[in-house]
Symmetry: C2
Subunit: 141 residues, 2 copies
DNA sequence: CAAAAAGAAGATATGTCTGTCTTTTATTGT
DNA sequence: ACAATAAAAGACAGACATATCTTCTTTTTG
């Protein structure tokens, strides 16, 4: 479903959402250790997300990654699209280039339902709201 | 979502369901040409499906691949699991090894809904029924 | 100014996915 | 029995994803 990069990215963003703030920034090493993700691999993913303004970063001592208020208003779909692209939400499930309601593949209408579900699940709550839920119901990242 | 192998495999099985019978078998070359799939790549996929008795085959002149009555009663989930495995229906969407209702990841219950949808969509109709629908509503494979 | 940490780029290694080719085996029709 | 046909099987190669490690630059803090 999602690439490893994407899974790592989502977990890291949620970790930042729960444990970081503009005052308390987290270094790659710390995040990688806590989530058991290869450090240098995670660094690349976080840099990519920072470049797309989905997470924030600052250099220097006491620098690190964190989420600002605006970051907390993004949703999982933004993260997923930034890392894996939007194919999963848009492309034909059978890989046909020509596939539409006018010229549907055998799974077109079924896939439509699935994609609707994905969109709903990943778009209808913000990262901030998810962080709240993680703390409230003690979910493991 | 699905690997190329799986997409090719599904299309090939549906093609066989529509155009083949125990009397009219189709060679790899013919299927590969019609569906615009690399021939030798498709051969491997079909061999794998034949070994798992999801499609039928016979060698020699006028041999080829086809679906028998039993094959037509299998469903897409069988095909998908034979090629890509059952991960998409079972594994944690965030890649966590420990993820259950007791110790859920932040997406566990959302993913449950998505997986239910996948199961429903791919399990509730047989290959034979799909073939009928393809013919009836003129869907492109 | 020195230390800390991200940013950026590249080398390397491994593994999986995708794709091609060749050889072997089984079946059929003559 | 023989030749043709087609699947079965395995060897191989390139692309891409995943992962690790270096090196260097830039920015910021104390």
């Amino acid at each position: 479903m999602f690439s490893k990069s994407c899974q790592y990215g989502i977990r890291a963003v949620l970790f930042l959402a729960v444990y970081s703030s503009a005052e308390k920034r987290l270094g790659v090493t710390e995040i990688a250790n806590k989530l058991e993700i290869p450090k240098h691999f995670l660094a690349k993913i976080l840099q990519q997300l920072a470049k797309e303004n989905l997470i924030s970063s600052s250099r220097g001592p006491s620098g690190g990654f964190y989420l600002n208020k605006k970051n907390r208003k993004s949703n999982l779909k933004d993260i997923i699209e930034a890392i894996d692209g939007s194919q999963i939400f848009t492309d034909c499930i059978l890989g046909l280039k020509e596939c539409s309601s006018e010229k549907p593949c055998p799974l077109h209408f079924q896939a439509f339902g699935i994609k609707e579900g994905l969109n709903y699940q990943f778009e209808h709550q913000t990262i901030g709201e998810m962080a709240e839920k993680i703390v409230r119901t003690n979910l493991s990242i």
